[in-house]
Amino acid sequence: MPDEPPIERRPQESERPEYPDAAQRPRVGVDTWVAEHGERVQRGPLRRAAERVPGWARLLAFVAVAAVFPIAVDDEYLQRVGVDTLIFMLLAVGLNVVVGYAGLLDLGYIAFFGFGAYTYAIVSSDKYDYHWPAEATIPFILVVTAALGLLLGLPSRRLLGDYLAIVTLFFGQLFVTITNNSTDVKLPFMDRARDLTGGPNGITDLDPIDFAGVELNSVPRYFWFALALFVLVVVALHFVNESRTGRAWRALREDPLAAEAMTMPVNRLKLLAFAFGAAVAGVTGAIFASLQTAVFPQSFDVSLLIILYAMVILGGTGSLAGVALGAIVVNVLLEGLTNTDDTLPVVGETPPRLLFYGLVAVGLALIVRPWRWLAVAAAATIAFGFAARLVAEQWWERGTAGRPSQAGRIGDLVDGWLLFPRDPVDIGNYAFVALIASVLVLTLLRRPWRWIALAPVLYLAAFVWENRLIQEPSVTRFILLGAILVGLMASRPQGLFGTARVEIA
């Protein structure tokens, strides 16, 4: 041994506890990465508990609750929201095959939905005078949309994810353009110009689905039909995902090159995923069309695509339960934000207002730590409001001349607190731009300033909401959706319910 032995550093007290056999473990040259992996990862207890519930149990619980929904809720509007939600859930799990399993960014997904709906309309209406039975229509749509998916996938087969995104996005746009414009088309093989799709007026008076002798003539029946289909699709997709095919999809999502070197025909698998997604979307389109009893091009524009992606992303791509949950959350949110007519019975407030203030509160609760600051911020905001009101009453009469545009308990509360200018549209617009800028700046500020600036920003948000956004609910909900999507990606890219994946570039 040398005179001065190298210093050996013993782990310090403050570090993790050692293993009981620490003394016997060799200290140099042994990689303990795996052995300690479990304890190196930080994960909440709630999530670990949730992961332990088996998938079939979750599905069963969901079905049990959902099946009684149309009976328990005797309100046709709510039942209708329920069917819509199921349609979205179906669309989301279908999209999940493409995006979540195979990792392909398919932005033309809505076109398949529309294609299924239009196909249903064509074979079940007076337009072409076909009235096929649903037992034939639904398998037919399944096959043709899958075939269309394959066709669209073909040119993209050699392409990276990004290129696929643009081809499919373009395709989605094209679908709307073509359905919108094919009112007076003379193609080379036709003898005269014809109206193919009804243009913006769409195809109307579709037959209701009449499946195996049961005519779907009421909203609850559609609900159960969609629920049954959802369960079928989820179980089928789950089985495929657990098989060699699903494994290969996941492998090609992880590393297409390695997958190909390991005997997986990558292009064929991509096309298959594509066709799967398309088929699910097509069948869902058929239900949608017959529920609506009409199809219009506008129903299949890019907004729907964004909504669907929001659902899939929010839920966490790759997990069936996650995306279904995402679909529920997003659809209920969007419905709630537009429903300005009803006043909720117990709280005495319209849903949009409740949702807005609720979202702000939840958002803050997620971001602000420790929570006592939340109380401080709330108090500061309230104080700031009264101060602003006081100042305005002195110096700016026009600023307090207006009234909340919607009644409700919260409306009454904010009346004496917020400024309500006489002519809110212009001021509201400027305030909206100012609000965006100030929220962005807020994220850049450092600790003390961030808290100080929070109260005025919250007040500004309430001001913009009450004076401007609340008046245009259909635009507002999309603005909020876009903002939530961006915010969610920045803070939790794996989605609310998803697990983070390790990706090495």
Binding site: G29, D31, W33, V34, H37, A236, F239, V240, E242, S243, R244, T245, G246, R247, A248, R250, A251, E254, D255, L257, A258, A259, E260, A261, M262, T263, M264, P265, V266, L272, R501, V502, E503, I504
Partner: protein, 281 residues
Amino acid sequence: MSEPERQNEQEGQVERERERVLELRAVSKSFGGLRVLSQLDLVVHDGEIVSVIGPNGAGKTTLFNLITGLYRPDAGDILLEGRSVVGLPPWKITQRGIARTFQTLRLFLNMTVRENVMAAAYGHTKATWLESMLRLPRARREEREIRRLAEEKLGFFGERLVGYRWDQPAYSLSYANRRRLEIARATATRPRVLLLDEPAAGMNPNETLEIAELIGKLRDDGGYTILVIEHDMHVVEGISDRVVALDHGVKIAEGSFDEVATSPRVVEAYLGVRGAKEEAA
């Protein structure tokens, strides 16, 4: 020292009788005017371990990419068991019997250890998605089989990759275990020929020793024919039946380890004076 020599002597007599499993005939490849491989001939016989050495940029990995179909040769032919594989897609070539590992490790990181190996059995399972969807007997039987296959392949590495590690995600593995998992995954494709791209890179001497032994075991017990790229001359010396040295896409030496290691061209282009001295010592 006489062992490789003797073997080499025998080689001359036996060569004609032993099956040529993999054969490259005058293969050339350029990228944008830069010639990476030119007129390369290479033969690998049944049950042989052949090492490819050469300085960086000599075209070693390109050689692997050509054999596995990631690139298409500009000229020449590549034969597996006498049949040309040029122009086939990579997955088909692997199905025919050439599997590889990657120098930069390309595991399916977010899949479990077992799934990584099971995924590689795709090529020799037949259940269609419809059978899987309906859980028909064949799908269930195959699933059981490849599960067993995966566990068997992982068991090849002793205790390293068994038990609780089966269900861990691949990203949680240590570097050395990732290399082992890549080999296990490659063998799950049921190959005839294994191409190992720097299997000992980034391993410490103990692990290197172990991997060298393992490569021998793969040949002896697994029956694979092995072509390996390696920088560690101890490994090359320990495992190779034959060594091929490349420089600038040209074969500069071929023969037993000793012949190649003492070839002046190899010393000049690859080993360097000190490296050659070390080998001599």
